[in-house]
Symmetry: C2
Subunit: 343 residues, 2 copies
DNA sequence: TTGAAAGCGTTACCAA
DNA sequence: TTGGTAACGCTTTCAA
């Protein structure tokens, strides 16, 4: 296990070291005969190329930097499918994934690029006005954002289409003959952080409700914690005037507490009130009750982000990628929307 | 931003390249005067050393490989605190974190070592008989396991002390005058995978209950899914003979469904029955009802694992680390254990 | 306390 | 279709 080099492979295969290199990179035509001898030698020595040497000589690290929103608070629930999909896509392209936490801020980005730790960067959890975005844009490596900032500064972004998500929720409630829609908004902290989707969701919901002729109210902010949630829910229930009331819950973290508050008040979603969340599927599925949700499609979003990233690393001729790539959400019906009355 | 090298720094500082290197590594005494000039030059150029070149010449990557249990099913709920703590500890030692998913199996390990991608490896979610452990033990880089396999093969392991965890749960119920204890066990799949703690928990609980003179029954397997859970819960409730019944739930994934089943049956934990989970804190805290739990201490476990890892990379003279390092759990009382009757 | 120079293991150019 | 060889940017020995 004393770590063989391409020189060893060359010796065993009876070829030059450069030939070994060309067999690996495929950047030069190699006769079938030599190729086989080289591959055999590699096999025999269980040879693996030294990544540092390769990075130094070839100026390619075969590493993707991934900036994840740890350290930052927030919707950590749905994080894993993103990371998982990114890791698997990287692997499929023979790339490694280097983890950087968001609490490092721009310094993390500069380190990734400055030390030549990676060939490209994926950055998650982008805020509307995000300090890191201008820094990222100036980096000598391509950066793909998951999330859409106010000014993408020329960077490629991928995200859920939150406008459509809000519209789908409103449509579902309008289609099922609801008389009124209430959106329970975000906590003040989220609004201050200017997460890119907060505004998009509320605006789109309002607009669609108007178009569908259903009155829509937004209650916000909805803070975390027992009492704050209780208060918001009471405010919500006060609006129930015998009509069919539908609630849209666009903020992951508050959905659980809100459902609990409803239960405490003996208000049963799907019977007394309708509830639609914008949230990761597993959360909706495992919640009690399992609620109808508009999915955040972490796998689609991540996959598209990685497609863009590898395209930037190796632009296919004639193919283009959109600057802002919005992924269509999917509405999954569970039991929390009251069916249309049969009369 | 054209990436400066240590040669540039040397030129600006008016010293040799080797001096720049020695300033960075501190492996040679440098006069205060030269040191300052070098540091100034670095600052001025915003110099960052090329990690590939450094790895090649110095045979140190300053990278920690992290094998996470994605792709594998399972208790993904509590995963993030582990990753977060590991990332932060790595950063504190000026190391990067390279992510490898468990579904790559031993191939991932061999790649990490063979390509010189990292200096050391942390591997999570170790099964009792884990194919990767012998491979890891033969690697030319140190490996620290989070989890304890049947045969650690000389590797260092860190994990929660599940024996003590089980004992604490039993003690808490015995101390609060319970007449009977039931442990709702693991699904068959977990038992087959031979997760290292399954056996440890049940054995220790049985033993402690005997010592405390409280009858203890284990119901297992408890499969996932609505009906399976319901069945287990009915089986559980059938044991209630007017006495004080305490339940221990050692398996994360089943705790939510079980609590739900209890609620459906109008059995209120903390009033009609007692419940203690062995689970991550946030899960216990955010559950409804928030239940008394024995914490898995992901932060402590990860921190100790990283301490061991950096000790292996740079053994301090005179200091030793235990081969198997078990972290003490902590019991957090919430509302699901019935208080001692006051009479 | 410092400098010069020989590697480290690849890639890629220049020849053949 | 192949081989020789000069980088790549750092660390570290050997000299001074």
């Amino acid at each position: 296990m004393a770590a063989f080099t391409s020189k060893d492979v060359a010796r065993i295969a009876g070829v030059s070291q450069s030939t070994v290199s060309y067999v690996m990179t495929g950047k030069r035509p190699i006769s079938e005969r030599t190729r086989k001898r080289v591959l055999d030698a590699m096999e025999q020595l269980t040879y693996e190329p030294h990544s540092g040497a390769r990075a130094l000589a070839g100026r390619r690290t075969q590493v993707v930097g991934l900036v994840v929103p740890f350290g930052a608070d927030g919707q950590i629930f749905g994080l894993l499918p993103f990371i998982e999909t990114i890791a698997s896509s990287a692997r499929a392209h023979d790339h490694e994934v280097l983890l950087v936490t968001a609490d490092e801020g721009s310094a993390g980005l500069r380190r990734l690029a400055g030390r030549a730790l990676c060939d490209a960067i994926i950055m998650m959890d982008i805020e509307e006005h995000d300090d890191r975005v201008p820094v990222a844009a100036a980096l000598p490596v391509p950066v793909v954002l998951i999330g859409v900032p106010a000014d993408p500064a020329g960077l490629h972004c991928v995200d859920l289409d939150f406008e459509t998500a809000a519209r789908m929720a409103v449509d579902e409630l309008a289609d099922t003959a609801h008389d009124e829609i209430v959106v329970l908004g975000y906590p003040a902290s989220a609004m201050e952080r200017g997460l890119n989707f907060v505004g998009r969701v509320l605006r789109s919901a309002r607009q669609r409700a108007r178009a569908r002729g259903v009155p829509l109210t937004v209650i916000e902010p909805v803070e975390h914690g027992q009492e704050a949630t209780a208060e918001a829910v009471d405010q919500l229930l006060a609006r129930r005037g015998g009509g069919r009331l539908g609630v849209v819950l666009p903020h992951n973290d508050s959905i659980g507490p809100i459902l609990r508050a409803l239960r405490t008040r003996d208000v049963l979603p799907g019977r007394d009130i309708s509830v639609i969340g914008i949230s990761p599927d597993p959360q909706a599925e495992e919640s009690d009750p399992a609620y109808t949700n508009v999915s955040e499609e972490p796998r689609d979003v991540s996959r598209r982000a990685m497609e863009t990233l590898f395209w930037l690393l190796d632009p296919a001729p004639g193919v283009e990628r959109p600057g802002v790539d919005l992924v269509a959400p999917r509405l999954i019906r569970r039991s929390t929307v009251m069916p249309i009355p049969s009369n």
